[in-house]
Amino acid sequence: MSLRIGIDVGGTHTDAVLVDGSEVRVAIKARTTADIESGVIDALQQLLAAGDFATADVRAVMIGTTQFTNAVVERRELTPSAIVRIALPTGRMVPPKIDWPEDLAQALGDHVFMLHGGRLYDGRELAPARDAEADAVIEAIAARELDCVAVASVFAPVDAEPERAFAARLQQRLPGVRIVLSSTFGRIGLLERENAALLNAALLPFAERVVDGFERALAARGLLCPLYISQNDGTLMDTAFARRFPALTFASGPTNSLRGAGLLTGERNAVVVDIGGTTSDIGVLRDGFPRESNLGVAVGGVRTSFRMPDILTLGIGGGSHVTVDGSGVGPRSVGHRLLEAGRAFGGDTLTATDLAIAAGHLDIGDRRRVSDLAATTVRRGLAVIHGRIDEAIDRMRSSSDPVTVILVGGGTALLSEPLTCAGAIHRPEHAAVANAIGAAHAEVGAEAECMAPVAEREAVLADLKRQASQRVVAAGALEDRIRITDVDETAVSYMAVPTVRLRVKAVGPLDLEAMAHG
């Protein structure tokens, strides 16, 4: 046996599956709770009750969570955080957060600081650092009692010393403060890297609470196996890493659901619509893998430097607020409070789920409680939902031909009528837990990186690809299914010989047979 548990903690539901190899043995749905932890405990309890297995036989638990993406999208659980950009005099009129949505910028507080310093492309100093200026910022951070600070300096991928120097100074004065350096997010592109570091910083206290909760939940149900968290590219990270880099989970939900939808239907090319409690994520499976975005992906309206699947997110889900006349749906959602706050469940918020119940597409809650809804409200609201999702599918498909659509997630009942863009529409068994299935089939990844003289670039690159692939095999992946997913190259300055830093990432599916015997 190679039993694994895949869990998806969404905004509304916490789903869990027990898989044995590629077979789904048990799938259950629980509710996400405000503390998250008790929802996971409940899901594990249901799984243990429904499945005939011993906890000691479970090799690994893999958790995918949209908690961190949702926190950004809904502007909640975010800790006021400072951003310190080291780039003056450049960027004076293009300050950090310049293109952020107003409400998200406010959620992090008005704590934008700019310092002189940073590097030029050739590694030379852009401007001398000014100690007094840095100390004034540090005192402001202290006075405002900020616990989380992101630091971004211009050309940090070439030389991160200005970020490290400020961080050391800050740490010395305020030892307890959490610091995120933009250089840990790689890539050239100051605004995107700065945004990634700042969002990550604002999520740190929440990440600590969430990951602690996951660990307590596993312990509470006697699971002593390793716990992994899904990253945005479908690979796994351990819990210590997840506490420090919650932003790396952005889009892990869509990645898991896309892969889960592919596994459940066998389709290799399709548009996947994942309808959750708060959002609908529309992505594309191409040749069996999530289609990646070529540009920096926006999270909650903010451009970031992450490599992620090309996902269009709409603020439409089962818990979306609906206006009295049905013309407005979302983006606010009752989230995990759907089963209390929704009208059909005795609450007083009209939600998208109430519309589906009133229309007879869904048989949960108490239909009588929504019988007073005007037929025009129900019709208009459902038409808004169908129209916006249809339009999103149209934007995502790669030609005007009808496209195969796979509906997954907990809110598929919101879409009961035909879609003009769709050819075949799949509603696979276990569709509601596609994310958890994707999480349980997560891949393993490994990187290899080094500096090389430009003249030896080709040979070194080939060697790095080999090294990264070998590391993925060592981590338990199938040797013949390894693929190189990323090659990143940065010219390094201050070297006598022209030099580049090369970084290669290889990824492959876990060898389940080997796990069984291992």
Binding site: A87, P89, T90, G91, R92, M93, V94, I98, D99, L120, Y121, D122, L126, A127, V154, F155, P157, I188, G189, L190, L191, V284, D287, R291, E292, N294, L295, R303, D310, R395, R397, S398, S399, S400, V454, R457, L461, I484, T485, D486, V487, D488, E489, A491, P498, V500
Partner: protein, 372 residues
């Protein structure tokens, strides 16, 4: 007969995103990432209102037209932000240095960031811009501008760096000017702003590549509203380009980026991208880069070369990809577009033919090359 695009009489804040998108396509990989300059330009147009735009043919003899823009390596523009007031500073310094009153601004090139920079200064000073540019595309060097080819002197010119340092140039030839301004860019962080090739309305009427800003807005609008597979969009692109100064649009290759070797050298982004079939085997395509995509070759044959336009777009969305954004694994479609007739004269080919960039290839117009 394809419908002609609309000539705009002003650029509004709402047009800037389309102008940038269309410009990135026409920039053939160069011109710099327009994102930050788009933010600056939208802010300027919201503060000061729309910028009036006039067609080059309507310029009076006595008008004084000043080209403005940034010079350097596009990769730098992803990382190093402008201060924000450079275009206005360059204009002010130019007027102070020359004693002239500038009546109109114009971009060097309709390319990436450089299409919109004159708008920032034009909005702040209430000046109109000319609907056109000096390239109809982007190209890496000053002597390649139609202004220079027509004999407009590059200097007196001024350059402003990120520290606010100003430099005035007075050179004998455009080649000397290019060498000096390039070295200044390298010395001062890889990116500077210049005001150069100032000219009378009479000169501008002769050498400006006309209507390219309006065309870029129309192209951006098409790419945004018809986001979809590049090959499927080809017919619509052909219909838009056919009646314009560009003419032919041709599909060259579709595949996946398997290698991108690129570095900053001599003040330029220099390198080569290799695109191979997504599945199966086949001759790969290589695209030579010097800020712009200059030469596309496959199986020993040239499929398109400078001065014709080579454009790399995302295969799925048809979004154009600047050379500094090109990365491993991207699914791309490579498209060739004919250059404006300004570049097919003997005088122009002496400075923009493939041999000017070190390629062992004589220019053959795109429509006369065997198709890929």
């Amino acid at each position: 007969m394809a419908e002609d695009f609309e000539r705009l009489s002003e650029i509004r804040a709402e047009d800037v995103a389309d102008l940038c998108l269309g410009s990135v396509f026409l920039a053939t990989g160069g011109g710099g990432d327009p994102y930050v300059n788009k933010l600056l330009t939208e802010a300027a147009l919201r503060t000061h209102g729309p910028v009036a735009m006039v067609s080059p043919g309507s310029l009076a003899d006595g008008a004084w037209v000043l080209p403005l823009g940034e010079v350097g390596a596009p990769t730098v523009s992803l990382e190093q932000l402008p201060v924000g007031d450079e275009p206005l500073t360059a204009l002010t310094r130019y007027e102070a240095a020359t004693g002239r009153t500038v009546s109109h601004l114009i971009p060097f090139e309709v390319g990436g960031a450089n299409s919109v920079l004159p708008l920032v200064a034009a909005a702040a000073r209430g000046l109109p811009v000319v609907d056109g540019d000096g390239m109809g595309r982007a190209l890496p060097e000053a002597q390649m501008m139609t202004f220079a080819i027509a004999g407009v002197a590059p200097t007196p010119a001024v350059a402003v760096d990120y520290l606010g340092n100003g430099v005035t140039f007075d050179t004998a030839s455009v080649d000397d000017y290019e060498r000096q301004v390039r070295h200044l860019a390298m010395a001062m962080g890889g990116m500077i702003f210049t005001a150069e090739h100032g000219m009378s309305g009479a000169q501008a009427r002769d050498c400006v590549v006309p209507d390219t800003l309006s065309f870029a807005v129309a192209l951006g609008r098409l790419l945004r509203s018809r986001r979809g597979e590049a090959r499927a969009l080809l017919t619509e692109l052909q219909a838009l380009f056919a009646p314009s100064i560009y003419g032919v649009v041709r599909h060259l290759y579709t595949g996946k980026v398997v290698d991108i070797d690129r570095r900053i050298s001599g003040g330029f982004d220099v390198g080569e991208a290799t695109v191979a079939p997504v599945q199966g085997v086949g001759e790969p395509l290589t695209v030579a880069i010097r800020n712009e995509y200059l030469l596309a070759r496959s199986g020993g044959r040239v499929l398109a070369s400078v001065p014709d336009l080579i454009i790399v777009v995302d295969s799925e969305t048809c979004a154009p990809i600047n050379s500094e954004r090109l990365g491993y694994g991207q699914r791309v479609t490579v498209i060739g577009v004919g250059c404006p007739p300004h570049y097919r004269t003997d005088a122009a080919l002496r400075v923009v033919a493939p041999r000017c960039f070190g390629f062992d290839h004589d220019y053959v117009p795109l429509e006369d090359l065997a198709a890929g």
